[in-house]
């Protein structure tokens, strides 16, 4: 159970960030996994010990865990800023494709630039926060699940507060009507950039949490499926509704776990893996068809 909660939490974080970018600011971002990877690697490179003889990477700063964590969000945000400088002006689908391409390039870079990322070998044995206070891994995993829930609650609080602030109101206005927002004297690129950067920071932090969960990073963790799963969680749960996002993440992780309990034999595994894809696809298609605003749609705030 604890493992499921952790993954649900991490996907909820991604969905939360995506909701700020898309639900509030209307940016179609298909590059979630790119920032996720940047966050994860930032954390690892900041905290990794100096390279051993068999390692190809050059930088391991061996900084305290806390700094690594903060760094993962900040560095991801910084990259979002760099990407956003030219890309934030792109409209709709063009932004989607640009961010998608960005995420792919990031994966190739992380695979090939060994001096930075240790290539496909990646980093292993990553230390987990507060691990030393726990004797057994079993009790720790419950603590970690608790930590994740805490973090999700924290992000939830921050984001819902942001959304209700004048900042969030302006973002929504931009989502609703860019021309009118411009007529109201809003520098829409700047606001979009903020949404993009804050979203990236949260995705970056989620990267740290993910690294602690997997205890290793390799480039193959960061495939575009992560982006799609985050989107699916957001879409089926309900854009603009925080409970919806948690529900969406729960459904997606739930589908994957449910098939696990049907796992009885080796041969069945292929079918089960296949039905996971089918179930994920079906649920997305059906929700869009019959409840296009998601299971828990956004409620319009009334002052």
């Amino acid at each position: 159970m604890a493992g499921i909660v952790v993954l649900m939490g991490i996907y909820t974080m991604l969905a939360l960030a995506l909701n700020l970018r898309f639900g509030t600011a209307g940016l179609i971002d298909l590059g979630v996994v790119g920032f996720f990877a940047i966050g994860a690697y930032s954390y690892v490179i900041l905290t990794a010990p100096a390279p051993g003889t068999a390692d190809a990477y050059m930088f391991g700063f061996h900084l305290p865990m806390f700094i690594g964590f903060v760094g993962s969000g900040l560095i991801s945000a910084f990259f979002a800023f760099l990407v956003g400088l030219p890309a934030i002006r792109l409209k709709g689908e063009y932004l989607a494709i640009a961010t998608y391409a960005f995420a792919e390039v990031i994966q190739y870079l992380f695979t090939n630039e060994k001096w930075l990322t240790n290539g496909v070998k990646g980093f292993i044995g990553i230390e987990q926060p507060f691990r030393k206070f726990f004797v057994s891994a079993n009790s720790y995993q419950y603590f970690y699940a608790f930590l994740i829930v805490l973090a999700v609650a924290c992000f939830w609080y921050i984001l819902s507060r942001l959304e209700r602030s004048p900042f969030g109101r302006t973002l929504k206005a931009i989502r609703e009507n860019e021309d009118a927002a411009r007529a109201a004297g809003k520098d829409i690129e700047r606001f979009k950039m903020w949404a993009f950067v804050i979203g990236a920071a949260i995705i970056g932090f989620a990267g740290s949490f993910y690294v602690w969960f997997t205890s290793l990073v390799v480039p193959s963790l960061f495939v575009s499926e992560v982006t799609w799963v985050a989107w699916i969680a957001l879409t089926i749960g309900g854009t603009g509704n925080y409970k919806g996002m948690i529900l969406g993440a729960a459904i997606i992780v739930g589908i994957q776990e449910a098939t696990r309990f049907l796992q009885a034999s080796a041969e069945l595994a292929t079918i089960l893996a296949a039905s996971r894809f089918i179930a994920m696809g079906l649920i997305l298609v059906l929700i869009i068809r019959f409840k296009p605003k998601g299971i828990l749609p956004e409620r319009n705030t009334v002052n």
Binding site: S165, R169, T170, N177, A180, A181, A183, A184
Partner: protein, 252 residues
Amino acid sequence: MVLEVKNVSKVFGGLRAVHEASFQVKENSITGLIGPNGAGKSTLFNCIAGYYPPSAGEIFFKQEKTSGFTADEIAKRGLARTFQTPQGFAQMTVMENLMVVPKGQVGEKPWQGLINGKKVKEQEEEIRKKAFKLLADFGLSEQKNDLIANLSAGEARIVEIARQLMLDPEVLLLDEPAAGINPALQNHLIQVLLKLRQQGLTLLIVDHNLGFISSLCDYIYVLHLGQIIAEGTPQEIFRNPRVVEVYLGGIA
């Protein structure tokens, strides 16, 4: 002169929508810009508001050259506009629509919005009061919690004007404000606009119909096929045979 348009041209592909148009708007006046459909009014209007960069010519607002500025920069300098078909933040309430607009909101900085400190709260309260007063002035108090998407066309138009007034503009550009509004509401609108002028606002109204505009404007410019073909007081314009020909056709 609060607004000066000097030899502005705008070309789209091969199409010349506006050709060396020049005109001026006096402070605290109500100036009209009229012309038949396709005359280039909206294009010129968009050039002034910063939605299109002019292909040639210059525009000055309060003696500052604003051609080349983006729309939001121009809006912040006190030149507010409305749209031909009312634009609003559809899935937001009337109140929220108004509250989006004011300049210099501290809470628009994400960290300030997050902390939601005293300054933000005070400012929000101020803005809310201001919006409430505007809505009351326009007779829209009851609709303050309605979504823009659910308003009638006439209401949407008035809300848009109210929303843009939240900018505290010096000049208000109105794009066919009377279109789609029934006569009773039109009269109400005229009263509102006249009152705004009394309060010191300068108005530039674009319309293709002389009727509404003549009862409001001090001075009118007539645009036809991208060029200013006449200017003068409403009376002068009505007597101008060129204008009458453009509007009614040759066989008069």
